[in-house]
């Protein structure tokens, strides 16, 4: 049964995430300086990178949950992996769309099939297919095992996406440790770095809030399913 302590924790985390995102927006629009070459649109950077970073964390959590599930097949780890992939997919969608809007004035195009953008598209498709895989398997234990293996293998797309701008020439800028192939490295002032770090933390709290909400939803769903079976048994019996 779901505890009221969990509900209270989720409620507090929801409020904390909402407040932190609002403070982050205030920092983005009123504290961070305007970037000199791209103008105001560069402020999309803070949510673009924040969501990308948190999506990577989410997919890593899914990978770890998958590994743990294969070692100890408990439903909780399957739920965690499912929730994490789902949230990761939402976050990476935010990254892609935000980046596209930013790209229009910066690169004079909404989209370009550069290594980074191509690899992140592949990443999105691979993780979207995770849900198709789950939908195709009825047996819960088998579904958990296959999903776990898939979540582990899928993480390679995150690694490829991260290194794509460091190994190949790309119009997409590198934030950290630009390789020879990157056409430009972001130069950030102190205020920009602070805002970026605050964005990372805000998105991490948001991820934690969404995770707890999503896992609770799975637990509720399980509870409803169990009640359904009891009801059917009673009505038959």
């Amino acid at each position: 049964m779901l505890s009221s302590r969990l509900d209270n924790t989720i409620r507090i985390l929801n409020w904390l995430a909402a407040i932190m995102i609002l403070v982050c927006l205030a920092l983005i629009f009123f504290y961070a300086p305007t970037e000199r070459t791209m103008g105001n649109v560069q402020r999309v950077f803070y949510f673009h990178v924040g969501s990308a970073w948190t999506a990577s964390v989410a997919f890593f959590v899914a990978l770890m949950s998958g590994i743990i599930y294969l070692i100890r097949p408990r439903k909780f780890w399957d739920m965690t992996a499912l929730a994490s992939v789902e949230i990761g997919l939402v976050l990476i969608s935010m990254t892609i769309v935000g980046g596209s809007v930013w790209g229009r004035p910066a690169w004079n195009t909404w989209w370009v099939w550069s290594p980074r953008l191509t690899s992140v598209t592949v990443l999105w498709l691979v993780y979207a297919a995770y849900f198709m895989l789950r939908g195709a398997i009825e047996d819960p234990e088998r579904r958990g095992r296959f999903s776990a293996v898939y979540a582990i293998a899928s993480f390679v797309t995150v690694i490829i996406t991260y290194y794509s701008i460091r190994l190949l020439r790309d119009i997409h800028p590198a934030l950290i440790g630009a390789g020879d192939g990157a056409m430009g490295e972001q130069e950030l002032t102190g205020k920009m770095v602070f805002t970026m770090l605050f964005s990372f933390i805000s998105f991490s709290v948001l991820y934690a809030a969404w995770m707890l909400n999503r896992v609770r939803l799975e637990m509720l769903s399980d509870h409803a399913q169990a009640m359904k079976l009891r009801l059917i048994a009673r009505l038959r019996g």
């Binding site: 070459t37 103008g39 105001n40 935010m94 769309v97 119009i171 609770r216 509720l220 409803a224």
Partner: protein, 60 residues
């Protein structure tokens, strides 16, 4: 990357569009979660009632 000096306000519409679409995606996801939770809680409440009624009918 194009490195041209621009009037910062020229790109402001894209800034706003960017945050609007990001927010819409997040909002849609939150609404989906809220809706699913509400439906599940309603289902659980209904089934609890039915189980209770069936229990009383069985005892009576």
């Amino acid at each position: 990357m194009l490195l041209a000096q621009v009037d910062p306000n020229v790109t402001t519409p894209y800034l706003l569009l960017g945050y609007v679409v990001i927010s819409v995606i997040a909002l849609i996801y939150v609404l989906i979660l809220v809706n699913k939770q509400r439906n599940l809680k309603q289902d659980i409440e209904l089934m609890s009632q039915l189980l209770e009624e069936d229990k009383e009918a069985g005892g009576g």
